[in-house]
């Protein structure tokens, strides 16, 4: 597949130029876009690749991919502002009202980019309906996350399926549906599986760092922290004490090494890795079952590897 990052970037800049007229809005939009471009627009590339895999031709898809990226950028800004755990992102360094305003403007720009695209209006309409439904799923998952209402594995999986996987489904399915096909259930299923695997991978990574993103310090229930909280070994009781508020952050400040040891010795790391791999293997099986996708497997994997 062609290098579509510059083409998606061009469309994103064009949309900003066309619809933002106030200088400061344009400047902040470009600043945030520059930050986003460091990640090579994986969601937009998923859209382009799925469009091509299912027979789509022409350049109109880049505008749609820009729409996908604007939506993802907006949700990322909201997420980072809510969690306050990404201090180095451009939107975290900007004044809060400005960052919030830009996120809202990007959401609207996403919708406008779809409406400005050159696709058949009925395809645009059904695609936009799908996009909104996936975004609403993500909103439900995000609320579960914000309220920290995950209490067991079932609610954890429900939360990540809605919060993370829905956005990957949205990116892939936009490409499929703009070719004129309807909802593709196997694409949806493999997007969910790889989205869940990626989120579990992130949860494992976030557990090993010792900063504002650490799920243990944040008392956040994830697959691994839940596993530890169920651990009956007495020497890990301090972990439960911290989660239940009997110990505070100062009490555990020097326990990083102990925590890492506990994760390893209890089998929590192994458990997380095995569950992650189960979802990833299922993703691979499903991918192989769709002929249009199987032949482009390597390209799809190369995008997801950078997720």
């Amino acid at each position: 597949m062609e290098d579509c990052v510059p083409k998606i970037e061009f469309e994103m800049r064009e949309m900003v130029k066309r619809h933002f007229t106030v200088d400061s809005l344009i400047q902040y939009a470009y600043l945030f876009l520059m930050d986003r471009l460091k990640e090579q627009l994986p969601f937009g590339r998923l859209t382009v690749l799925h469009y091509r895999m299912f027979g789509g031709e022409g350049a109109a898809v880049y505008r749609a991919a820009a729409a996908v990226e604007f939506l993802i950028l907006a949700t990322d800004i909201f997420d980072d502002l809510q969690d306050q755990d990404a201090p180095k992102q451009a939107w975290s360094e900007a004044p809060l009202p400005i960052a919030l305003h830009l996120a809202a403007a990007f959401l609207t720009l996403s919708q406008q980019a779809m409406m400005d695209s050159e696709f058949d209006s009925s395809h645009v309409q059904t695609t936009m309906k799908m996009m909104n439904l996936q975004l609403l799923q993500a909103a439900n998952g995000q609320m579960m996350d914000l309220m920290n209402v995950v209490s067991d594995e079932q609610s954890y999986f429900q939360s990540i399926k809605q919060k993370s996987a829905a956005l990957i489904v949205h990116a892939c399915m936009t490409g499929v549906m703009l070719t004129g096909r309807g909802w593709h259930p196997i694409v949806a299923e493999y997007a969910v599986e790889v989205g869940m695997a990626a989120q579990i991978k992130n949860d494992i990574r976030d557990l090993l760092r010792w900063d504002e993103k650490n799920d243990f310090l944040q008392r956040k229930k994830t697959l691994l922290t839940l596993y530890m909280l169920e651990d009956a070994v007495d020497q890990h009781n301090w972990i439960r004490d911290y989660f239940e508020g009997r110990l505070n952050e100062a009490d555990v400040a020097d326990k990083r090494g102990l925590l890492e040891e506990a994760y390893e010795k209890s089998g929590a790391m192994l458990y997380g890795s095995v569950v992650m791999r189960t979802h990833y293997n299922r993703f691979m099986e499903l991918l192989e079952s769709v002929p249009e996708v199987a032949v482009h497997k390597e390209m799809l994997l190369s995008i997801l590897a950078k997720e």
Partner: protein, 57 residues
């Protein structure tokens, strides 16, 4: 069942060795989970003696 199986593995190094070599009966674990356990342990055995983070990429 997977969780209980992993806990028992973590507590018994002999069981862990058997699982790593593919010689352990894994009752109550689905074939997909069995495959994931074996793959994860194989990757870990290749890289380091103790558990470490395994990325699927």
């Amino acid at each position: 069942m997977l969780k209980e199986f992993i806990r028992s593995l973590a507590q018994d190094s002999q069981l862990m060795n058997l699982a790593t070599s593919g010689n352990l009966q894994m009752a109550g674990v689905t074939p997909a989970e069995k495959r994931a356990i074996f793959e994860t342990l194989s990757i870990q055995a290749d890289k380091k003696d103790n558990y470490q983070l395994v990325y699927w990429t």
